[in-house]
Structures are given as structure tokens and as C-alpha cells.
């Protein structure tokens, strides 16, 4: 039984020769950099070409935004402090959402009854406009860290529950049959079959939820307008005081936080499941 007349598909790519690492890295980074250049050029065009001198405060030039928003010592430490505050809130909210989300998804995966009973309410939480319940949260929990974290949990819960549940249910019937044939109990089935099968979906959920949690932290802070200053209050203050440069800097900072979180969870997912998972199926 030694005649191996077949070869794995992975082996074949080595012979054809892969493009060098540098070229591949350039291929990935160059296109977005070109677009960034275009955006900056467009920005300058609007600032100097479209806006008259008197209305130029509406869109300050790029270098001014960087100078005032990021290089000025006072502004920078304000911004970084706000960034830290919002990041902390978003992180705690995400961790709590993960705990609740995983528990609910596991519970629902164990019996159709739980799924039918719980899932509609998870959808309700998802469908509630966050702005509608912010006043209620203030009413019940004040405007402290706890209230902000609650906003993050509410906004980031749904993708975690939905994706994890979908993932837990994604193992094929044939695989379940194998575990049945070999007398696997509920916990073995969960640990060795359903959890690993769910992982790619879990990471997709995490990626979405992490971004939402950041939004939750900023939105909460923006509407509470009190207490620890986060990016939300920073945005509000600079908007009210017509500080064009600082406002734009805060906007860039907040999207930077969102993008970082998005990329971070992408890297974590590739590390965790990239070796075996085919990106075409399951989470993207």
C-alpha cells in the first residue's frame, strides 16, 4: 500500500515558484497607499481650491491638522487620554459581551428549546436604536464607567451571539454521526467538535463586535457628555468650539482605533485558524 500516485495541492505551489515576499507585501500595501495619496490631494484641493479664505476654517489643511491636533503637546496629551479612556471602556464592554455572548450561544446550541426561547430577544437588543436607550441607561446607571460599558455590551452583543451560534451549529451531520458512533458525551462533542468548528465564525463575530464596541464607547461618551473625558466628549467639545484642526484630529483618532481593532482581530484569527480554515467557507 505504498503507491502514492496523488499529491496534495499544497505541494504543487512550491514548484511553480512563489512571488517574493517583498513583492507580495507591496502588492497588498501599495493600492491603499495610492488611494490615501489621492484623498490627501483631494483634501488639499478642497481646502485651497474650493473654499474661500473666509470659509477655510471648515476644512483645515492636512499639515495644520497634524501640527495642531497631534504635534501640539497639550492637545496630544488630551487626545491620548481620551483615547485611553474610550479604549478601556470598549475593551471591558467587549470582554463582558464575549462572556454573555458565548454563554448564550452555547446554551442555545444545546437545545432547540433554548434557541427558540432566547434568540428573539437577542434580535430585539440588536434592533433597539442605541440612542433610544442611552437616556434610560443614564436614568438607571448614571454616566460613569459602568453606564458606558453597558452601552458597549448592548451594541456588540448580537454579532457575537449570532456568529458563535451559527458556528456551533456548523459541524456537518456526518461528523456528528462519528461522535455518536463512538459514544461521545455532550461535553466531549462540544469540546472536540462544536467549539473547533465554531472558531472561524467566532472570530468573524469578534471582529465585528470589537468595532461596534469602540463605536459604543464613543457614542456613550458623546451623549453622556460628563465624567471621564473620552473621544466622544473630545469630539463634542471641539465641534462646539469650532476647533477645526482638533476636531479632525479626533475623528482620525477614533477611526484609527476602530481600524486597529479590526486589523488586530484579523491577525488573531489568522493565527488561530488560518492553518486549517479555508477562507471561502464560514467567516470571512
Amino acid at each position: 500500500m505504498n503507491d502514492l500516485n496523488e499529491h496534495p495541492s499544497a505541494g504543487a505551489s512550491h514548484r511553480t515558484g512563489e512571488p517574493s515576499r517583498l513583492r507580495r507585501a507591496l502588492g497588498i500595501t501599495l493600492p491603499p497607499v495610492v488611494v490615501l495619496g489621492g484623498l490627501v490631494a483631494g483634501w488639499y484641493y478642497v481646502t485651497y481650491g474650493v473654499l474661500t479664505e473666509t470659509r477655510r476654517f471648515l476644512l483645515r489643511p492636512v499639515h495644520k491638522v497634524i501640527e495642531v491636533g497631534f504635534l501640539d503637546g497639550g492637545n496630544r496629551s488630551d487626545a491620548l487620554e481620551a483615547l485611553w479612556s474610550s479604549t478601556r471602556v470598549a475593551f471591558i464592554g467587549l470582554v463582558i459581551a464575549i462572556c454573555i455572548g458565548f454563554s448564550l450561544a452555547i446554551l442555545m446550541s444545546q437545545a432547540k428549546f433554548f434557541e427558540r426561547a432566547i434568540f428573539p430577544y437577542v434580535v430585539v437588543i440588536q434592533a433597539m436604536p442605541i440612542l433610544a436607550i442611552v437616556p434610560l441607561i443614564v436614568f438607571w446607571f448614571g454616566t460613569g464607567q459602568k453606564a458606558r460599558v453597558i452601552v458597549c455590551v448592548i451594541i456588540s452583543l448580537f454579532p457575537l451571539v449570532a456568529n458563535t451560534l451559527h458556528g456551533l451549529q456548523s459541524a456537518e451531520q456526518g461528523m456528528h454521526d462519528l461522535f455518536t458512533l463512538h459514544h461521545a458525551n455532550r461535553s466531549v462533542r462540544l469540546r472536540k467538535l462544536m467549539f473547533p468548528a465554531a472558531l472561524p465564525f467566532v472570530f468573524t463575530g469578534l471582529r465585528i463586535s470589537a468595532g461596534l464596541s469602540v463605536i459604543g464607547a464613543i457614542v456613550g461618551d458623546f451623549f453622556f457628555a460628563r465624567g471621564d473625558i473620552g473621544i466622544g466628549q473630545l469630539l463634542r467639545r471641539h465641534a462646539n468650539q469650532l476647533n477645526g484642526e482638533e476636531l479632525l484630529a479626533a475623528v482620525i483618532l477614533s477611526s484609527g482605533l476602530g481600524v486597529t481593532v479590526f486589523l488586530l482581530f484579523g491577525v488573531i484569527r489568522d493565527r488561530a485558524v488560518g492553518r486549517w480554515h479555508e477562507a471561502t467557507s464560514g467567516g470571512s
Binding site: 496523488e6 496534495p8 458512533l181 461521545a184 472536540k192 473547533p196
Partner: protein, 252 residues
């Protein structure tokens, strides 16, 4: 290992008047009775949808028949499906160890068992590969190796080579009958390929569709190991012809 490791003790697996009617009223199986013992390799050929797979699901206990009974020891049952059903997050090694793991065999021992059966199916060198980088034939080999770790006294094959190309299929047929000869299990194989059935089996059963009935039985007289050239033997061709004739007679 020589041919004498195959000894017949009838009754490793016995179907007793099995009937299966699904809730929607479809009668998949009617009055199926036959048995096989160690050293027997029985293949059931029949048209698609005649309930062949249902028979194996009943044998394995995944499905309860609506009539009759099965006599089988399910403790260390070998069972390969149409799909290789490998866990994509486990390497070849990890997949092959799975059943031993589920049966509570300690890590050292199951690593050894896996090593043995991986060699047996010719997958040595691929232990660290994930299923996504294996060809269809290699996945099937991996699936076979996984079941072999349990040294199953009864081995069920549910059309395992239906999805691979003709050449690979012939190779896998040759390898399967070698395994049968070495391991001496009682094999029950399901297929709709007549030459596959005749090439590997000691006995071929022909099944009709709706309801599934055993309509003919053929003893296959060739000795093991069977060389690939057996397929060009006139006796082989004649037997295939007879099976085919029976099969056509009941093909709806």
C-alpha cells in the same frame, strides 16, 4: 501476514428480517436477512436510492429499523462514510487519533496506533498535513486509517470511493482488499459499481429499489490477494455480467 489469518465464524453481523419505513411512508427496506462473519467481505450493489446506505446506518445503530433486528457488536465498529468526514482543524495525525481518543486510549498508545495505520494506508510523510491540502483519495485513506486504529472486527463501507477518479478508485480497491486480507475483519461494502463489488468481495448481494430487497446473491471464487489484472480475467468479466444482468432486471 498470510491468508490463514482469515477465519470464518459466521455471525459477526447478522440482519434479521430488517424493514425500514420512513415517517413519510417511503418503504426503504423490506425483509432484509443475511449475515457475515470474520474473513467475509460482502458487497451490496444496487441502484441509487435503494436504501443501501440506510442498511449501514441501521447496522451501526445510527438508525432504528421499523422491523426486524440486527446482531452486531458495536463497540469497535469500523465505519467509513461517502465523505471522508475529517475534522478540518486536525492534521492527518490528529484525525487518525480521534477514535482512539474518544475511546479513552492514552496519548502515547494512540500516537503509536495512528502511526501504524497511517503506514498501513500509505500516508506516511503526511502526518502534519491538514485535510484541506490533501487530495480526495488521500482523505479517504486518512478516513480508513482512522477506523483501522480500533482494529474493528466489523467494518462498514458506505460507498467510500464514489467521489474519486477511476484510477484512484482502482488503487483504493486493491488496497482495501489487501487491508481486508491483513486485518481479517468482516467487511460490509456498499457501492453501485459492479466491478468494484466483484473485485473486492467474497460475496455480492444485489438489491432492488423501492422497496429495497435482496434479489440475488453471488459467491466470488477468486483467492486473495487479488492482482489488478484480475479485472481482465474472463471469469471476472462473466461474473460482472451476471451481476449486471440481475441489477438491470430490477432497475426501475
Amino acid at each position: 501476514m498470510a491468508t490463514d489469518s482469515i477465519e470464518t465464524d459466521r455471525g459477526s453481523l447478522a440482519f434479521e428480517a430488517i424493514g425500514m419505513t420512513f415517517p413519510d411512508g417511503t418503504e426503504a427496506l423490506r425483509e432484509i436477512s443475511f449475515s457475515l462473519g470474520r474473513g467475509e467481505f460482502v458487497t451490496v450493489v444496487g441502484p441509487s436510492g435503494c436504501g443501501k446506505s440506510t442498511l449501514l446506518r441501521i447496522a451501526s445503530g445510527l438508525l432504528e429499523p421499523t422491523a426486524g433486528s440486527v446482531d452486531i457488536d458495536r463497540e469497535r465498529l469500523g465505519y467509513v462514510f461517502q465523505d471522508a468526514t475529517l475534522l478540518p482543524w486536525r492534521t492527518v495525525q490528529g484525525n487518525v487519533e480521534l477514535f482512539a481518543e474518544l475511546h479513552g486510549i492514552p496519548p502515547n498508545e494512540r500516537r503509536l496506533l495512528a502511526r501504524e495505520t497511517i503506514d498501513l494506508v500509505g500516508l506516511q510523510g503526511f502526518e502534519g498535513h491538514y485535510p484541506k491540502s490533501l487530495s480526495g483519495g488521500m482523505r479517504m485513506r486518512c478516513s480508513l486509517a482512522r477506523s483501522l486504529t480500533l482494529k474493528p472486527p466489523v467494518f462498514l463501507f458506505d460507498e467510500p470511493f464514489g467521489a474519486v477518479d477511476e484510477i484512484t478508485r482502482e488503487h483504493l480497491n486493491e488496497e482495501t482488499q489487501q487491508l481486508f486480507q491483513q486485518e481479517g475483519f468482516a467487511g460490509l461494502f456498499i457501492t453501485h459499481s459492479i466491478s468494484e463489488a466483484v473485485f473486492m468481495s467474497t460475496r455480492v448481494l444485489v438489491m432492488s429499489a423501492r422497496p429495497g430487497l435482496i434479489v440475488a446473491e453471488f459467491e466470488v471464487p477468486f483467492d486473495y490477494p487479488r492482482p489488478p489484472e484480475l479485472r481482465f480475467d474472463p471469469t471476472f468479466a462473466e461474473l460482472c455480467g451476471q451481476v449486471s444482468h440481475e441489477l438491470r432486471g430490477y432497475h426501475s
